[in-house]
Symmetry: C2
Subunit: 351 residues, 2 copies
DNA sequence: AACCAGTAAGGACATGTGTCCTAATTTTCC
DNA sequence: GGAAAATTAGGACACATGTCCTTACTGGTT
């Protein structure tokens, strides 16, 4: 009762502190913690009890310094506001944790990639994963640095980075499937919603559309129509709605609409319905990504599923192979084939 | 050209390696890295050039061991599949990074909290933040450990944890606002959708409803009706739709429906519309959380906004105060007042 | 009482870093 | 060319840890 401080912070920051507290030598405590033989059961119990009571934990940084693998993976995210990307993150983190890997997660704002990657390297992560679509030049530079550095890496989603180990969805094939589905319904005039975007994945998807049309001896330019230039893409839902409204009153309106993503697709669905058109009676719409919202509209939105589980499983496998297997000389590419999910928003072309 | 290996991995893992590579003493390099005076500009340039070329980074673990603050915050997430929680995470990480803090993010599956918190402590994080709703007993135990340990902490969303610094939404007030809004429209019979859930936040919201009704001298039991027991809550959207379908054919149907969250609200909206009822002409519906989907329905869903930006700003402030300010004796509680966002799904009661 | 096995104590070293100190080297100036 | 100033080299220590080693203490059995 002499001092006013009622044991404010024992602050057992080191094994030495902790050993003093237990009344044992530091080396003895260390032997207990590392399960070495030749210790009295009573001593072992005493140390464990004190750990419970005080919550002492050995300093992970010192452990790493001693050569113990930190078992950490750095994950760079395009952002945390894109639901499919976050779902991949969640699934990947779960798979890695099952193998006792921790993950460091950072959002990679434009221009920040160098700083973030250097931070990961200073943390001596075992591998670095990129999830999402990034600035092409920036990510290419980072990958070549990592390759030179000999650090295992993986790019999920962003295909076509030189020298990078990649897992990505074959968006062209997905789009081909959608177009074939609509061709079978008799559609021959397609409206493109948001597909004129300069983004790499847009071009990839246009190729898928071209392939499907070419296989049916149809001309791309005369079969497709885009009004993307008439609206500014701020929010995707509103963008889709605006495009639909314009298309609704346009002459020679297409009978099937292909959206860049589900938000635009759902927006278009509402836009057309608000204009008095019936879906799929008057026209068909498809989205891309098969997010939850596709099942929440009336009718449901036909979409292309990203196959997140297989994607992430392949990603985890590739990372672990790099960590445990022999070094590879050439980058590994894995392509995931998407799956068309047909819902009520697509149907026979109007006669 | 003698050896076959084309410089496979220089593997500059330490300042010593790096200094050897540059041709300088380790201490000289260290002085350059830490901006000490008395160095020839040419030497400084040489070191920086070599850093660029090799990508060498000082070992963060060794730095921490030397006493340099690791500037890391541990964040425990309920899960990464709840959009509002992820938005808070994204915003918080951004604010912390602006103060040069890194964050470690882990999903806290039931029963895993002890392991995760111990891992954070072994990483010597400066603070631990919990975002979401957790198992009450588990989180309470973790908080009391952290308090005993003297580690700064914060709980976001999960109110009522003994001894915890907390930032949470006043859900009762939000619900009161919704009910007042509907009372003003002449509604007096309310259907509760999912609010019989045993979750803590459901009870809190029921209190808000009770308060609003009591203020208008209305009896809770005779004014409200719940059919939650008739359906199993698997997916929220489907749950809402099923509840609506049942309510649609029920005698003495309420004229206003209060949903536990937006997914249930949107599901109910579709369920009622599929049953031939018009919203808001025949009945009104409100959601909770004001997620993006509220604006994507026809009509838009009236909902209660969580005020994510103010919540996260308050959270960041509380964390930084604990890190920089004097130690507090008593836990700090911050309550965020939600805001009603009125859309087309609510309107005058049918006559 | 003496001996021996069983157990704990405590010193030493290495890990990568920053910092301090002194000695060695280079550069500058006259 | 020589002295002074500026710069760099290199050794030492501390940080928290695991491991090895030697020394010291404990207890029980003969």
């Amino acid at each position: 009762m002499s001092k006013s401080k009622p044991t404010p912070r024992p602050a057992l920051r080191s094994t030495a502190d902790f050993a003093r507290h237990v009344g044992l030598a530091r080396t003895t405590v260390s032997r207990v913690l590392n399960g070495q033989p030749g210790l009295k059961p009573k001593t072992i119990a005493r140390v464990h009890a004190a750990m419970e009571a005080t919550g002492f934990t050995p300093n992970a940084h010192a452990l790493h310094l001693k050569g113990k693998n930190s078992a950490t993976i750095g994950i760079c995210m395009e952002d945390l506001l894109t639901p499919p990307a976050v779902r991949k993150l969640a699934a990947l983190q779960r798979l890695l944790r099952a193998q006792n890997y921790t993950s460091l997660i950072e959002v990679l704002d434009p221009g920040e990639s160098r700083r973030v990657v250097r931070h990961f390297l200073s943390m001596r992560v075992d591998a670095i994963v990129f999830i999402g679509l990034f600035d092409e030049a920036e990510i290419t530079a980072r990958i070549s640095e990592l390759v030179a550095h000999g650090t295992p890496h993986l790019v999920i989603d962003h295909a076509g980075i030189a020298g990078a180990n990649t897992v990505s969805l074959d968006r062209a094939v997905g789009m081909t499937a959608v177009v074939n589905h609509l061709l079978a319904f008799g559609h021959t005039r397609f409206g493109l919603l948001g597909l004129s975007s300069p983004a790499r994945t847009a071009g990839e998807r246009l190729n898928g559309i071209r392939a499907a049309l070419a296989a049916h001896r149809l001309d791309f330019d005369s079969c497709t129509q885009s009004l993307d230039h008439l609206h500014v893409r701020a929010g995707d839902f509103e963008y889709g709605r605006a495009l639909a409204t314009t298309f609704a009153s346009s002459p020679n309106r297409p009978t099937a609409f292909l959206a860049l993503n589900d938000e635009i697709g759902v927006g278009a669905l509402h836009g057309f319905q608000a204009s008095g058109l019936r879906v799929p009676h008057d026209l068909s719409i498809s989205g891309f990504n098969n997010q939850d919202i596709c099942a929440m509209t009336t009718p449901g939105l036909t979409s292309v599923d990203q196959q997140i589980a297989p994607t992430v499983a392949a990603a985890a496998k590739l990372i672990l192979e790099q960590l445990n297997g022999p070094a590879r000389r050439r980058p590994v590419l894995r392509t995931i084939v998407p799956e068309l999910v047909v819902r009520g928003s697509t149907g026979p072309a109007p006669v």
